[in-house]
Amino acid sequence: MTTPAEALPTQEMLINMGPQHPSTHGVLRVLLRTDGEVVVNAKPDVGYLHRALEKIGERVTYAQFMPFTDRLDYLASMNCNCAWAWAVEKLAGIEVPERAEYIRVIVAELNRISSHLIAFGSFTADMGAFTPFLYSIRERERVNDLFEEICGNRLTYNFARIGGVSADLPQGFLEKTKEFLDYFEPKIPEYNNLISYNKIFLHRLANVAVVTAEEAVAYGLTGPNLRGSGVAFDLRRDEPYSVYPKLEFNVCVGTGERGQVGDCFDRYMVRINEMRESVKILRQAIAQIPEGPVLAKVPRLFKPPAGEVYFRSECPRGETGFYVISDGTVNPYRLKIRTGSFVTMNVFEKVTKGLMIADIVAVIGSFDIILPEIDR
């Protein structure tokens, strides 16, 4: 028997979401095939922001590529800076002074907080609540103030150097950081009260776009998106680098608090909890930081030995890995960048089947993608 619905097939509607759309976090184009409000298929179309960063990397010297890593994930430039420095140091076998490593960890964790703040804020703005966004920006501004003091810029920091960091901490920086942490820590429960456990917000997120642990691993998700699916994998702990082994912190995972493990809410909560962990790491790092030089002796005309290296580090949006092949000259022979957001887009099409248009926005927000990282 054919139901009336089968006898009268309705035509699906094709909608372009993006490249210019307030909730695609940049120039992402998602091609939606919808049946009314229900999305039959959502195909992400990336590449509108391609700047050939990898090719640029082959043209410029190792040190010159540092400012370009700022543009990789502009909300977490410090993390990308440090990742590049670590990768090149691993390639050349450079010993970095301990103080420099601590400074790197401090700025990286501060940047993780500010990046997660943006993730939180823009996500709530996507969900229709604009106010938490401005609260998160308010906190982020204080992090930016700190960064401006330490490196002189508020967005594109270019702070790390091969062999250390560009400058020692300015006078009173650690005290100011502590002050910020004391100010910031009570804000997290406030966010939770304000919106995280709001009924409407919960309903929008719980059980939406569930990525199971197997799927997350199979699709190569990393970072908070992977941990949101309940996989406790954190490069800082599982593939330790820098001084992270000396620091204590928990790896936050999605617990399926209000729905299934791996839904949008879990991914969201992982980020909120990671901010707490970052605060914890920062307090320890501030307590432990030693005195000493901040930059190893690296020749001005830096030529690493021929060879190849892959280094990955835990960035706010997942694993940022640099695969560098050196032929012994001043430029990398080949540079490949692996970014968390780009890999996340693979699973996007799968998890958005059968959701509604409003959910697409939630999914994009909960994956916390950033377009320069996707398109590089």
Partner: protein, 371 residues
């Protein structure tokens, strides 16, 4: 209106020779103009207040550049909207595209006619007042649907569809939630409803405190009415983060301003209806405005009514800047699974209460026990 015109003609000998209908017509036009001026001013100042409230809540300052405290911001915005290029998309349905904003504005503005602004300040005290408001606001839906369709934009169409589905389904809980006030007053006329809330000391004559069911009715009405007028958190037809701007995405300049004004007009109508039906309308607490001379009584009651209504508008803005947005299916579920049953239960409760206690509310019962 006619009676008023008659009394005016008899009172002022200078216009005795003028036909009655001319005077009536002139007065109609005049009151419409006054209401229009009010609606426009409210729309403008409302946008200013909305932004100021947003600024306060969001630890910002808000508009403060044009005029003292940015008070003239709305004039600047209005001038800007008037001067902006009016863009009509090439493949849009020109006729409907142009017609839609007016329809929306008429639908929202027509409701102002019956609002009881003061003791005698109603443009037309229709005996079906509440029902009339419900009816004319349904015009808005047609306008929104038209706007969504005529724009020839899929986002706009989705917004229009959402708006229509939402407004149609929320008409029921809104109507049912406002019924208790009608039941208590025994009339659909808004002036009658307000008058029925006089008596007793202070605020306890208000329908809000009549009985527990009316207390809940107020909140149900306020919630449902916010949804019916597409206010956040129920603003899914606009949903700037999903549908960009929904049905009005292709509109610019003065046509957009019409949608904008209609939205603020709706806001005020909702607040005014809630005030009239539950918060005692123009009744001044502990004071009888009707007893004053006509002019002063009207002015005082007008002020009180506006204060109450504006307070409710402020609450709406406060909600708007706090809550996230519902999804469209959740919105429907909220209407059909929560608000509709609850309002029905509430209505039943109020009816039973009126039957059992012979129409007396809790304050009246207590008063009769004491006195």
């Amino acid at each position: 209106m006619e009676a008023l015109a008659r009394s005016l003609v008899s009172a002022v000998p200078a216009i005795a020779g003028v036909p009655l209908w001319t005077v009536t017509l002139l007065m109609m036009v005049l009151s419409a103009a006054v209401l229009l001026a009010f609606a426009l001013t409210f729309g403008g100042l409302g946008s200013y207040v909305l932004r100021k409230v947003a600024g306060d809540i969001q630890v910002r300052i808000g508009p403060n550049r044009v005029g003292p405290y940015g008070l003239l911001q709305f004039l600047a915005d209005g001038a800007k909207l008037l001067l902006k290029e009016d863009i009509i998309p090439a493949k849009a349905d020109r006729f409907l595209f142009i017609l839609a904003p007016y329809l929306v504005f008429v639908g929202s503005f027509a409701a102002f006619v019956v609002l009881p602004f003061g003791v005698g300040l109603t443009a037309s005290d229709l005996n079906i007042g509440v029902y009339y408001v419900m009816a004319v606001t349904s015009l808005v839906v047609v306008g929104i649907l038209m706007a969504g369709w005529a724009s020839n934009n899929k986002w706009a169409l989705l917004g229009g569809m959402r708006a229509a589905a939402q407004i149609v389904s929320y008409e029921i809980p809104v109507g049912m939630a406002i019924m208790p006030a009608v039941l208590i007053a025994g009339s659909l006329s808004l002036q009658d409803i307000v008058r029925s809330q006089g008596g007793l000391l202070g605020i306890f004559g208000w329908n809000l405190f009549h009985n527990p069911f009316t207390f809940f009715s107020f909140f149900l009405y306020f919630t449902a009415a916010q949804a019916e007028t597409n206010q956040t958190p129920f603003d899914i037809p606009e949903a700037e983060s999903e549908l960009v701007s929904g049905y009005n995405v292709e509109y610019s300049g003065i046509r957009y301003a019409f949608f904008f004004l209609a939205e603020f007009g709706d806001m005020f109508v909702v607040a005014a209806l809630a005030t009239a039906c539950f918060l005692g309308g123009w009744h001044v607490p502990f004071f009888r405005a009707e007893a004053l001379p006509a002019l002063w009584g009207n002015l005082l009651s007008l002020a009180v009514f506006l204060i109450k209504a504006f307070a409710l508008v402020l609450v709406m803005m406060w909600v708007r800047w706090t809550l996230p947005r519902l999804r469209v299916d959740q919105l429907m579920r909220m209407s059909w699974k929560y608000l509709v049953p609850l309002t029905f239960v509430n209505l039943l409760g109020v009816s039973l209460w009126l039957l059992i206690f012979k129409g007396k509310g809790i304050p009246a019962l207590i008063a009769s026990l004491i006195g």
